[in-house]
Subunit: 434 residues, 2 copies
């Protein structure tokens, strides 16, 4: 067996397939989601993707989700048994979905002539904290998987699940957790790259359903992807991008529906330094799941913001964009956004504390959207946001609120203008495909 | 919390519900099969059965199978992935069925106000050997379950599954293994009784579908039940009866479809000494899954039996009834039975060794049945079998072969006469209900 070259990814992966071209053996994690393993036929297709990489000489760990629909089915059974139920039991029930897929893919790989074995969260083990239902990974012991590599074995790891060390009980990482599993395992076994196979062929400059001219990016920086994911792009779970960034795991988003023998390019999420020429704006993200709340004539005294936002935080409601306008009479109008699912609950909480805090009334709107532009280049370019405000006003788009950070800005607008605003900004920053 | 009285079952269970009547706290295992947990509504019904026993002051471990149909579905997925597949992966896939039920029942119990938690094979742990697909239990650590009892918790144990200590991989016990799980757990936690809830209300003197006058027995000895199960009665898996007998676990077969608040009597499987008056014959069992093979004019020389049966044993084919008739010319006709599923395979094996062994031809029949009478009383009563041969011949039933043991005898007959033979023997030994 060839000696493994622990090549740092920067050199090898000038191009995502460079490792193959140079003939050096690499260690890869390949992750396949629920739609990619929805049937035995699709699981066989996954086996063909894995076979390609094995034959290229790579050591492979595959991370799988439950077959499409399975998780929802198991969740429904738990809810049917009791609307509010023990999250520890829920985790044990729901984690069975990935257990099934992992075993089936190991069988399919063996059938294709590739030695393979499945690894469950408690077998690896993948240790998490005890926040059942949305646990966080604490540590992963990659020794067993690496031992398997030495025997020429592909490791098939059940995604989404772990085990709490003290209680020895199964935990799950929350929806979309398999992406996080994949990236964390890649970090644990010092993989050269983590390939996320999904139903799209990469990360686009914006949603191609809204802007047909949207471009697939060859590369995007971790920070940009983190903002894209946080601001509404659904291609990767935010937590998985965080883990990839912290551990510097180059993560490659690509399509599982390509011809396994001749796959197309995807998008590499990597360090900023590995992107030749940073664009001012890389992508436009948007989210319609926003709601706006405005408190009228709030007394402008110290501690009032805390008095408003603490009760919301305690109820688990995330507050996003916050704008205050102080008027002459010493009161202020305070506007902020919450997720639209939390809108009614936030309203009720605020009504209760109205007299204590002292404001004249509450107004709100659910038909709002947040449109954001993301780009590392903003750091070194002035006036990027100002150009946007001008372009939007020319199109008659009214801006309700603005927030900015080092590498992104967001505007809150009427939901009806979402597509118009996204297309306007996409063109403005030169993102339209030729 | 009351101190547990470690009352030996003989005294307490003069009647299966005596423990309740005396007010002493007991420790019970309750096992529910696939049809009893087929839907959430039925799982709630199981929770009501458990609640009744908890409220009577007992410590309870519940063992559950997969929801009806689930195991078949998972087996089909494995077969679809590869007709011949790694049994270790198969075990991991298939064991997920019981994992789901255990979690759901724990949730349903909690919803009914009863503290409960699920235990998987690797969590308990239930250690087995590494014969994946049909593993045997080596040891069970009951400490965690008993700790739970001290906290007032019901233990919900996933049946059918264990873990191999060295490899840390999931094993399954083979079809019907949940009965074995239940009895073995009862032995491990020193339970006073193991209640097997099933879709019939006890053990009958024979199959009530064949003999409407069949009687539900109040009690049956372990040895008798073992023969009944081995000879075709399907109410309990043979291995579970073996474990119950070896460890002296009184096992109570009862219906899961009774009113949980007012359950009916079942059948207690217990030591011979606990049965007041042993009947000569307790029950009539029968099996249609038999096939007869006859080797004509086998050379009657030493080692010929081994030469015939060793190749069959090596192919995993069980040989049952064996009859030899030596003729004047120094050859013998050798007749024996195999399971009907193994018939064609056995034929092929025997054809291959025909010349080596030296016999003139092979004859066989698949339309045969084995009818057996079982009773501990046979030990002390002569002529029990002879009466049967007489009664059967009077009805025109031709006997192809006979085997006897201390507490049972079996006759091989034409399958068409099965019902007639069963009814004849059932009446002959006074088993018909009044």
């Amino acid at each position: 067996m060839a000696t493994r070259a622990y090549a740092k990814y920067e050199g090898i992966f000038a191009h995502p397939s460079a490792a193959v071209e140079t003939g050096l053996m690499s260690r890869l994690v390949m992750k396949f989601g629920g739609t990619s393993v929805a049937t035995i036929e699709r699981i066989r297709n996954v086996a063909r993707h894995v076979k390609r990489e094995v034959e290229a000489g790579h050591e492979i760990a595959v991370v799988v989700s439950a077959m499409a629909g399975k998780t929802n089915e198991l969740v429904a059974l738990c809810k049917d048994a009791a609307p509010i139920h023990d999250q520890r039991e829920y985790d044990s029930v729901v984690a069975s979905g990935e257990q099934v897929t992992a075993g089936l893919l190991a069988i399919a790989l063996q059938e294709a002539g590739i030695p393979a074995r499945s690894w469950l969260g408690w077998q690896t083990p993948i240790h998490t904290n005890d926040t059942h239902g949305s646990a966080r990974i604490i540590s992963i012991d990659g020794a067993g998987i690496i031992d398997g590599f030495r025997r020429g074995e592909v490791a098939v790891v059940a995604g989404f699940q772990g085990v709490h060390k003290d209680s020895n009980r199964i935990t799950t990482l929350g929806r979309g957790g398999s992406d996080t599993s994949a990236v964390a395992i890649a970090a644990a076994i010092e993989a050269d790259r983590c390939d996320i196979y999904t139903d799209v062929d990469g990360v686009y400059s914006t949603d191609p359903r809204v802007v047909p001219k949207a471009k697939r990016m060859d590369r995007i920086a971790f920070e940009e992807m983190l903002e894209m994911a946080s601001l509404g792009a659904k291609v990767l779970q935010v937590r998985s991008v965080e883990v990839a960034m912290v551990h510097g795991v180059p993560t490659y988003v690509r399509s599982s529906f390509d011809d396994p023998e001749n796959p197309k390019e995807g998008t590499l999420i990597c360090n900023e330094e590995d992107i030749m020429e940073a664009q001012v704006v890389t992508g436009i993200a948007f989210s319609r799941d926003e709601a706006q709340i405005t408190l009228r004539r709030v007394a402008d005294k110290p501690g009032v913001a805390a008095a408003v936002f603490m009760p919301l935080a305690e109820a688990g409601i995330n507050v996003d964009m916050i704008v205050q306008v102080v008027s002459d009479d010493g009161t202020t109008d305070m506007t902020f956004t919450v997720g639209s699912v939390d809108y009614e609950r936030a309203f009720l909480i605020l009504e209760k504390i109205k007299d204590k805090i002292g404001f004249s009334g509450i107004a709100g709107a659910k038909d709002v959207a947040k449109v954001s532009a993301i780009g590392i280049g903003m750091r070194s370019h002035a006036g990027v946001a100002a150009r946007a405000f001008h372009a939007l006003s020319e199109k008659g788009v009214n801006i309700r609120a603005i927030t900015t950070s080092e590498i992104k800005f967001s505007v809150l607008i009427d939901e009806a203008y979402t597509e118009l605003a996204v297309r306007t900004l996409h063109s403005l920053y030169g993102l339209d495909a030729a």
